[in-house]
């Protein structure tokens, strides 16, 4: 433990020192990277400005975090108690997960008055990670404990209460670790567009035009500090719980087989696909919004397939897709590779990864728009910058899931290979990697749809091509049909990628 701490401290100090030197000597991107001391000086200079913004963001993120997690936990319990409900809600779950936030912010701002849009985005951002983690946690239980409860006459309710809820805690806390930074990100992103006067997003917006990278980094780091605090609290709780309750055996990690006859299963699959469209329609109907701005599924169909707009709209959409899709696949693979390497490194050399974690967290909470000048100066405006942004958007949730998987490997398994002399990398290869396979696929499912978001952000901020640019331009031209079409197509593409990951998982775990 002592050497691990020292490695953490040394690595952190080394990174900060290198950063300070690079920043002071303007070594990176001809000085667009400010040094830590410059950032601190700017922070001190602006300190009076920060408080109202920080308070507003924390408030939004916290309320959204509570709402989103409450819904997620209740949904997970429902899904485990009534498996059909999970299959029915599958379409909605994936759609919520895959919705690119940049596409829905303007719509949310129009549909929900005042604070509503900001809270909704923060809540949406936390729902999926918590719901997935909780569902896995409720399922991955020690069957012998269930046998005990059953032996004493306990029904499904008792199993839920005495076994599932308790043993889900480590997984839930793992989910909350992802959810906490997400809430902050969601809040900031929504502040960006909702016209609120206070909030770090609003502050960032006013500061963008000042060509003051130190200020932008200060705002980004303030966001990171808030997110990091949430992450640390969840991680601390997770550590206490997992240390005390680590399972002795390795759980199988298999999904419960779908029950029911073929026809019934197909009916549920179709219903699950249609449900998001019904909800979409219903929300617009309840919102009472004008059909000019709020396109229903029928409105989008009309826009894409009927004259006068159809032909031109399809052509523009296809051209954008052809630009966006190949690079999405590339970015996806790169993001997963980085996450996997980091997780394995974390298991073998925990000291070094503990030092890298704060930096990883910065990449999650630093609004990318603040980093655009730096990124384009380093990576240019081509494929490199797109892959870099996509990796930064995808790797973190994948990493957390993988690290969780590796941490869940029972000590006894390590002790066994340890007795034969296997340490470090060898022990990893023999025990941890095979045991974490289900987690690798869970990580892929989390990361895959985000790849499209990453590519779209890069297109919007840096390259000016593809779906991201089409979306942004359509917003400017008030081409509402195209805004909704791009949102729909990007969700469909993300869902397709997600399904591909699920299929791969089935094939791989069947072996």
């Amino acid at each position: 433990m002592g050497t691990g701490r020292r490695a953490t401290a040394l690595t952190l100090i080394g990174i900060v020192a290198l950063w300070e030197i690079a920043g002071d000597l303007d070594l990176v991107a001809s000085g667009a990277l400010p040094s830590p001391s410059e950032i601190l000086v700017a922070f001190w200079r602006d300190k009076a400005d920060y408080w109202p913004h920080i308070l507003a963001t924390v408030r939004t993120a916290a309320i959204g975090f509570v709402i989103g997690n409450a819904v997620a936990i209740l949904a997970a319990i429902l899904f485990v108690r009534v498996p059909a409900s999970e299959r029915l809600a599958r379409g909605i779950n994936i759609a919520i997960f895959a919705l690119p936030p940049i596409a829905i912010v303007p719509v949310l701002v129009i549909a929900l008055p005042g604070e509503g849009a900001r809270l909704a985005l923060a809540a949406l951002a936390v729902y999926f990670p918590t719901m997935t983690a909780m569902t896995v946690g409720l399922r991955e239980i020690d069957p012998r404990v269930v046998d005990v409860v059953r032996a004493y006459g306990g029904g499904d309710g008792a199993v839920m209460r005495w076994v599932r809820l308790r043993s889900s805690l480590p997984a839930l806390l793992g989910g909350l670790r992802v959810a906490a930074p997400n809430a902050v990100l969601g809040a900031i992103l929504a502040e960006f567009g909702s016209g609120s006067r206070y909030g770090l997003g609003a502050y960032l917006l006013g500061s963008l035009g000042r060509a003051d990278p130190a200020r932008l980094w200060g705002i980004g780091l303030a966001a990171t500090a808030i997110a990091g605090l949430g992450y640390a609290l969840a991680a601390l709780a997770a550590k206490r719980v997992t240390d005390a309750s680590r399972a002795v055996t390795i759980a199988s990690g298999a999904m419960p087989p779908a029950k029911g006859r073929g026809q019934q299963r197909i009916a549920i699959a179709v219903a699950s696909f249609l449900l998001p469209f019904v909800v979409w329609w219903l929300l617009l109907w309840l919102g009472g919004l004008s059909p000019i701005i709020a396109k229903t599924p029928l409105g989008v169909f009309e826009y894409l397939f009927l004259p006068p707009t159809g032909a031109s709209a399809r052509e523009r959409l296809l051209a954008a897709l052809v630009e966006t899709l190949p690079i999405t696949v590339l970015g996806m693979a790169a993001g997963l590779a980085v996450a996997f390497l980091l997780a394995v490194l974390g298991a073998v050399r925990p000291g070094i990864v503990r030092a890298l974690l704060p930096i990883a967290l910065v990449t999650q909470t630093m609004p990318l728009v603040a980093l655009t000048p730096l990124l384009v100066l380093i990576f240019g405006r081509g494929i490199a910058v797109t892959v870099a942004i996509t990796v930064s958007v995808t790797f973190f949730p994948a990493y957390v899931t993988l690290a969780q998987g590796l941490a869940m490997v029972p000590r006894a398994a390590f002790d066994l290979v340890g007795a034969y002399g296997a340490r470090g990398w060898t022990a990893m290869r023999l025990v941890a990697l095979p045991a974490s396979l289900p987690w690798l696929f869970a990580a892929a499912r989390l990361a895959v749809p985000r790849a499209l978001l990453g590519v779209m952000i890069a297109e919007w901020l840096a390259t000016g091509r593809g779906l991201g640019n089409l979306l942004n331009q359509s917003r400017g031209y008030l081409d509402y049909g195209m805004i909704w079409s791009v949102a729909l197509v990007s969700v469909l593409v993300s869902v397709a990628l997600y399904q591909a990951a699920v299929m791969l998982e089935r094939v791989a775990t069947r072996r």
């Binding site: 991107a29 001809s30 000085g31 667009a32 400005d49 913004h53 912010v105 303007p106 701002v109 129009i110 008055p113 960006f192 567009g193 016209g195 609120s196 006067r197 502050y203 917006l205 006013g206 500061s207 963008l208 035009g209 000042r210 060509a211 990278p213 932008l216 109907w285 309840l286 919102g287 009472g288 919004l289 004008s290 059909p291 000019i292 701005i293 709020a294 409105g299 009309e302 009927l306 004259p307 006068p308 728009v369 655009t372 000048p373 384009v376 100066l377 919007w460 901020l461 840096a462 390259t463 000016g464 640019n469 942004n472 331009q473 917003r475 400017g476 031209y477 008030l478 081409d479 509402y480």
Partner: protein, 326 residues
Amino acid sequence: MKLSLSRRAFLGTAAAGLAAGAMPGYFRNALAATPFNFQASWINDAEFTGYFVAIDEGLYTAGGLDLNYMSGGPDVIPESTLISGTADLTLTTPDTTVKAIVDQGAPFKIIGTQYQKNPIGIVSLAKAPINSPADLVGKTLAVPPVNVISVEAMLKLNNIDKSAVNIVPYAYDPTPLIKGEIDASLDFTTNVPFTIEQAGEKATSFLLYDFGFTIYNDTVVVTEETLKSKRAELVAWLKASRKGWETNLADPAVWPPKFADTWFKGTGRTIENEVFFNTAQKPLIESPNGIFSMDEEGIAKNIEALDQIGIKATREMFDTTLLEEI
């Protein structure tokens, strides 16, 4: 007249019936508006000083208006807030507004304009100056995606092939320009040169307006329905706002410092920047016929310029009668 309903019109009408008739709209009705809602087009900066003066001096209240000022931002589409009913009046760029009228059948009317000349222009560094559209050939120009058609129109008007200019997205941060990653950017010429000078460089700029793209900016837009039902309020708004702007522009250095702890608090910008902005925008706002006025020549120029980018504006989209009532 033959009675035929195209499928598109039919579906549209059916959807409108669904949305507006059958279900009155729970979210919207919850905030039935008694105040007069004004949606600005950007975050609080000098672009809106005249309105802040009018609010703080009680000019709207004196005119019988309970004004609710709403700041904007990059994701706030001003026209959308009119359609959704969140705002009664907003400030827009005429190209998007006219396009929405033509393409979407949006029921908008332009009743005035804050800028007689659009402040948007090409900004570059004085050490590598771009003084005219011809200088852009072979250069990298950062443009907010929204404005790409305007830039392409300006290039076309000056006989420059658009493929000769490398257009990349602009995210409102001048750092890439200062560092030389791009050669020029499209921005408010009233604003960003200040930042560039603060960073130790000299800026040079030209207006798209001066090279043929002759449109207004921050056009005052309302829906036809508001025009009918709230005409008196609109006239009161124009009157109070004109007074606010006249008061502000009498000496552009006076008012921004007074808003340091109110309107401009915590925006992340400096008061010196706002004074620079306020001073630079004065000649673009003032008009011999009074602030907000739209004369026939100006309207004709807008129609002509918009025609260059394939947007068919008509004289009927501009309603000058309210200005006459001030």
